[in-house]
Amino acid sequence: MSIKVRYFASLKEKLGRSEDNLAFVEVLTVRDLWGGANPQQSLPDNILAAVNMEYVDLDSRVNDGDEVAFFPPVTGG
């Protein structure tokens, strides 16, 4: 299956890229997806995750075609 991964703000700068387009065979969770995309980087503690622009917890399943986003605590307003 094919998954788009997006990174924002300080996380984007730290990783040096704003997105990944990944292809996987097996069903996986948001946490697994991070590991696949960033094998050298452990998942930051205070990270937030969204699937298709809705907040999810890190153990949610990811489906084919999903857009998954990782970002630091929000600081708008």
Binding site: R6, F8, A9, S10, E13, N46, A50, M53, E54, Y55, A69, F71, P72, P73, V74, T75, G76, G77
Partner: protein
Amino acid sequence: MAVFIVQGDFNPWQEIQKYQNSIDSLAGKIGAACIFIGTMRDFNLGDSVKSMTLEHYPGMGEKQLEVIVVEAHQQWSILDSLVVHRVGDIVPKDAIVLVAVWSAHRGDAFDACRYIMEALKSRAPFWKKERLVSEYERWVAENTTGYNLV
């Protein structure tokens, strides 16, 4: 009920009046309006700040703001609401966010306006990067609660 994400400076008073004119049919039912405006300060955490960049997640920004506004409309008896959030490069004194809530009675307007602001601060996907007068750049680490300890 409207949510706008805007690039470039906006005048909150003009936005409110424009929106209010568009809901004039409600005017005789409105007894209360509570408005919050967040503006950029020229200092933060003890440092002089020169400018700021507001990044957002396009699509998710609008979606989350709408979710928050709908929650407020479900929880309180309010007649209408407007949220405007700025993105891009901004300088001190510029407006960052506007939340306006109209209702028949004041309690609902105050409660709903504050609810929307707090939810926006903790859930809307926007991020601030500050540029200090020293040219040093830094990401704001996180928003703190807007409730004073009692």
